[in-house]
Symmetry: C2
């Protein structure tokens, strides 16, 4: 049971955590904090939080659990603002999509790795943002990755793990570096490809005529290009090393494919496509569901 | 009204055309042709076709409308097989995803551009294949592109257009070259990126552990990598010129993005992401639907 939960950043991620914990009866009071006053007022109105305080330091005062769900570029400022006002026994965790930068921000703000900070990443979301987009079941059957450090208090890890389990999530642990490599490959790189593709087409055809002939496959493929540009700029900068490495690998793959196409090397193409289809069908849930359209 | 429709290739595309025309009462007899006998027997059993003939020449005999829905690599062989047995007034059209290669195949088989061939491309499909995957509403509100040539009989074009409208499709016309460029950009390139991404990840991580942390955005992004490898090999070879050109443009886009990430150039990234998001939100139906998950 959490007595007082402070949520810094009451949007889709923070709001959904509050909703889920409330529905489970696992939280007493919820205090929200954020920069947009109308969003906070709305959050009180729809019952996601009990009250708000726009000053992070006052918002965390007295909280036994703090969840920081702000864009990566704002993490360090929040850590600096709250560091002297956290209850000594308060546990705090975050929802950042890159863990190396969050850990570095905490080190910079606190002067050491705070033992009661449990870096975390709920792998969930939609293209929408703001508290109105939040919902209690967002984390059900979703993965949450925690990346505790050697200095992290095991009791704090256990409590954060339990909080996410209460929301229906499947929690796993890995190192900061491994998290950032895995997410670079499975999330950050795909977003770069989707943004890059849509931008390349938009630049090719200023009249947008080309998009008229895009079918369902294109819609699915590029859905992630509707995500928040500011959030993704921050993620790219925060994870630039791991993302650059995986972009390099992908570029080699693409160069090889392009060469096979130019040369008409059908055997090479078939080999790549079969290996990819097999990996996807084997690993990605709902791979062949027959509902979604493609556009050959 | 079509008196006798011959469908060469009774799969998702051919089967769905037959079902839609039957439901609309717009066809008399439907004769199927294909290489897999069990699929043809199944097509009769579930009422998609009235009868079948595994010899294309016999299958088209007496038909006033012929629909060739075979992989691009099989087009020329079908044209060669049927050329001497088509009724003189028979109209024939196809469902190939590349039009330049189909027109070249027809020229090679007939020795000239047949005036009653109307090259076409229904932009619809799912990852599934075979007659069991076909359904009558596949073409509803989908686009069908016809690419008639100067030699093409306008009456044949009008009849094919009317056939597709009966199925609920929106029909448009463009040149062969423009079709192949547009589809290279909006369909063939995205498929290359999805296949290439999944293959690159599978090669990076032979244990497939990496896929465990892929969320909804990845599932949507890579859905098209579950498509038929043989079909896509054929498409790449058939459209290699236009696809190579658009792959080249995309490579430049990706190189610029990779450099901005390496240099930490947030302004450049924000500019690209905002332009892409705006283009997608403006052009792609259902861009922000809140239902589908991404994985930041």
């Amino acid at each position: 049971m959490i007595e007082r939960l402070a949520i810094i950043g009451v949007g889709l991620i923070g709001g959904s955590l509050a909703r889920a914990l409330r529905e489970a009866g696992a939280v007493g009071e919820v205090v929200g904090c954020g920069r947009a006053l109308p969003n906070l007022e709305r959050a009180v109105e729809i019952g996601v939080i009990d009250r708000y305080d726009q000053d992070p330091a006052s918002a965390v005062a007295g909280a036994d659990m703090v969840f920081v769900a702000v864009p990566l570029g704002a993490m360090r400022g929040v850590f600096n603002a709250i560091k002297d006002r956290l209850r000594p026994d308060a546990i705090f965790t975050d929802g950042g999509s890159v863990k190396g930068s969050v850990v570095a921000d905490a080190l910079a703000a606190f002067g050491r790795t705070p033992p009661r900070l449990v870096p975390g990443h709920p792998i969930a979301g939609t293209e929408r943002s703001g508290v109105d987009a939040s919902f209690a079941t967002l984390y059900q059957n979703r993965r949450v990755i925690l990346t505790p450090l050697p200095e992290t208090d095991p009791d704090a890890v256990a409590r954060v793990e339990s909080m996410w389990r209460t929301c229906g999530a499947e929690v796993s642990q890995m190192s900061v570096a491994h998290h950032d490599e895995v997410l670079a490959a499975t999330s950050h790189l795909p977003h770069m490809l989707a943004y890059g593709l849509v931008d390349a087409l938009a630049r090719m055809d200023e009249t947008d005529e080309i998009f008229r002939y895009a079918a369902g496959g294109f819609r699915d493929f590029t859905r992630i290009a509707s995500s928040s540009p500011v959030m993704w700029r921050d993620i790219c900068i925060a994870n630039r090393e791991a993302l650059s490495a995986v972009l390099g690998r992908f570029s080699v793959e693409l160069t090889d494919l392009a060469q096979a196409i130019r040369l008409g090397d059908g055997n090479y193409l078939l080999e790549v496509f079969e290996r990819a289809k097999a990996a996807r069908d084997r690993n990605v849930e709902g791979a062949v569901d027959g509902r979604t359209k493609e556009s050959p």
